[in-house]
Symmetry: C2
Subunit: 122 residues, 2 copies
């Protein structure tokens, strides 16, 4: 049975160009038997950020705690605990953590693109 | 742009046989442009529960606040804020809210089964 608390998971550094102070843990993915989509946890330290990039699959995001901004549709938009955000496919995006509180969120991705090709990070 | 807080959404009663005191809101689904999977919010009042049932698609669940139990693999398992739960396809399941605190969770479902048939509730 797969029941796992977000506070009990080791987080690993996100190693991508353009990232600062971000760690992640796969909470529910293929390795746990998830058939179609994957839930990852991200923690971004105060003042840190995820890479500004785009890709051909979507994100569904839930802000668990803290706050900051998401760059989407060409501008910075404030985000806070309890927000749900859709990052559509091919949309440039970046999450930045508040300088005081940091940012913790869930980010879900589809497991497959076009009913066949694996999605990176799923 | 789709940014929506879980506290700003009207919740509608879940009208299914075997449910008590549960409401839900679609947070991110097809109507918002989600291509592959849908995020719903559920609130279950203290002592309430979702139906005990099974279906041929999975859930990925995140407990936002409160606590209670999930019936899974034939037994009641405690759940608390921060827990991530995979309910595999065809697995009988039911969420019950703590008698004092109630239970609030996100429940995600795939949009399609078999790369074609729509999933109920997605």
């Amino acid at each position: 049975m797969h029941i796992k608390n977000i506070n009990d998971c080791p987080l690993k550094p996100v190693e991508m160009a353009g990232v600062q102070g971000a760690t992640m843990a796969m909470m529910c993915g293929k390795e746990h038997g998830a058939p179609n989509f994957s839930m990852r946890q991200f923690k971004v330290e105060p003042g840190g950020f995820t890479p500004r990039h785009s890709h051909d699959y979507e994100h569904e995001v839930f802000i668990v705690e803290g706050g900051g901004t998401v760059f989407l549709e060409g501008k910075e938009n404030p985000v806070r605990a309890g927000d749900v955000i859709l990052v559509p496919p091919n949309e440039e995006h970046q999450f930045k953590a508040d300088a005081a509180k940091g940012l913790r969120f869930l980010c879900l991705v589809p497991g497959m693109r076009n009913c066949g090709d694996p999605t990176p990070g799923s």
